[in-house]
């Protein structure tokens, strides 16, 4: 049987097949392209992060010695909240316009596509936060020597945050006011990241070896990479039922 247009898949399936990694790469590219079409929204978590760190000197004291002591806690609390802020929108548009449906029916691994979405979230919030964190730390009295440690710990820790957050975002899909609930679901699960991350930052500021907590953060990130996309994929499927 022949007709104009393309042939049906079985005949050309092998030649046309897209691997799971290829599909995930396209999904990542798509999210990045979309994000750069709306640059204004990209800046929001960063501005939020900056203003939260600004609150502390104003609310507590401008003395650098006191601020330096608080700096790790301030940085990590602000980073956690900024990452959370962007999460609410992780799936919202895709759920609304049917993209998630198409992902779930693509014949590709939904887990791989969820991983791509978390990767995009990290590239758009986690990585910029990691690059901005040293500036905030310097303004809170941290020495310049601590910059490398701070960048490393926020960069690694935010990987875990993006992944944990994707589960919460997928579970609250379709709710009208999901912001508070999303925090309630995500924050308790994120506490280990906060603990290890703040410790690594604290050691870096004190000029001591921060490798041990950094490795623990790395372990959390690896665990997140292996398990979180699975859970997020399950949650997305449930939301489509």
């Amino acid at each position: 049987m022949s007709a104009p247009g393309v042939a049906l898949a079985p005949e050309r399936a092998a030649a046309l097949a897209v691997s799971g990694a290829g599909a995930a790469w396209l999904a990542l590219l798509r999210d990045l392209t979309l994000a750069f079409r709306r640059r204004g929204q990209l800046v929001q978590p960063l501005a939020f992060f900056a203003i939260v760190t600004l609150l502390f000197p104003l609310a507590v004291s401008p003395e650098l010695t006191r601020l330096r002591e608080m700096a790790p806690g301030v940085l990590w609390t602000a980073a956690l909240l900024a990452s959370l802020l962007a999460l609410e929108f992780l799936f919202r548009d895709d759920a609304y316009d049917g993209t998630l449906e198409q992902y779930a029916l693509s014949g590709q691994s939904l887990t791989a596509l969820m991983f791509a979405k978390s990767a995009a979230h990290w590239l758009l919030t986690g990585l910029p936060l990691a690059l901005m964190a040293p500036l905030a730390a310097l303004s809170l009295g941290a020495p310049a020597a601590a910059v490398a440690g701070i960048v490393a710990s926020v960069a690694v820790g935010s990987v875990a945050l993006s992944l944990i957050g994707s589960i919460g975002a997928a579970l609250t899909l379709g709710m009208k006011r999901s912001g508070a609930l999303l925090s309630l679901l995500t924050l308790p699960l994120s506490l280990p990241v906060l603990i290890f991350g703040a410790r690594a930052t604290q050691l870096a500021i004190a000029g001591e070896a921060y490798l041990a907590p950094l490795e623990l953060l790395g372990a959390l990130a690896v665990l997140g990479v292996t398990l979180a996309p699975l859970a997020a994929a399950a949650a997305v499927r449930i939301s489509l039922e």
């Binding site: 589960i167 579970l171 609250t172 709710m175 999901s178 609930l181 309630l184 679901l185 924050l187 308790p188 699960l189 506490l191 280990p192 603990i195 290890f196 410790r199 623990l216 959390l220 665990l223 398990l227 859970a231 399950a234 949650a235 449930i238 939301s239 039922e241």
Partner: protein, 245 residues
Amino acid sequence: MNWTWFHRLASPPHVYALAGRLTPWFAWPAALLIAGGLWGGLVLAPPDYQQGDGFRIIYVHAPSAWMSLMVYMTMAVAAAIGLIWRMKVAHAVAASCAPIGASFTVAALVTGSLWGRPMWGTYWEWDPRLTSELILLFLYLGYMGLRSGLEDTQRADRASAVLAVVGVVNVPIIHYSVTWWNSLHQAPSVMRFDRPAMPAAMLVPLLMMLLGFTLLFVALLLTRLRGEVLTRERAASWIREALSP
């Protein structure tokens, strides 16, 4: 394989009737054990050589803390069964667990902080056990919040089940990180349950309370499960027969 017995077991009318029949078999032993344990712990057991009578709150605190974790495990296992085998009754069990577990967690937190007053001189100390317990409470609240946020029961069941399973993977990690954090900032705490030589007069009432609380949980779970089944099956015809005198 023949699965009829399994489906019969899991069918709502059967679960409703069975839970009703079983409840007294757990409730009465629970009441007796808790009464005996309280009497043994509060009256018969000798005062602690360090903490005096203050230690007696352990008879409520330790079983509550133990149950708060146990109930979470039960909830997660039921949720996983519901997810994997699409068993609605398992989801009903998980949903019934959450408020009970949250209540045990609150009890553990309140008694823990009351205990802290004579021990540390403050009502709240950032002790790793109490901190973990507090985080556990937030896990319960998140679970219940998610359930109430989703209107469709089936979706609430399955989404909250994913959350329970994710939570159970995280509980040990959270506990480890909190202990690690605490070891950096504080000397080891005074409060310990695992002293090597607890005299039998102290230990036996504690074990009775543990068993009593466990049975109490089962009795509460069965009662809540009946309510849960009734709510879910409110449109079904068997309910009219079951509820008619």
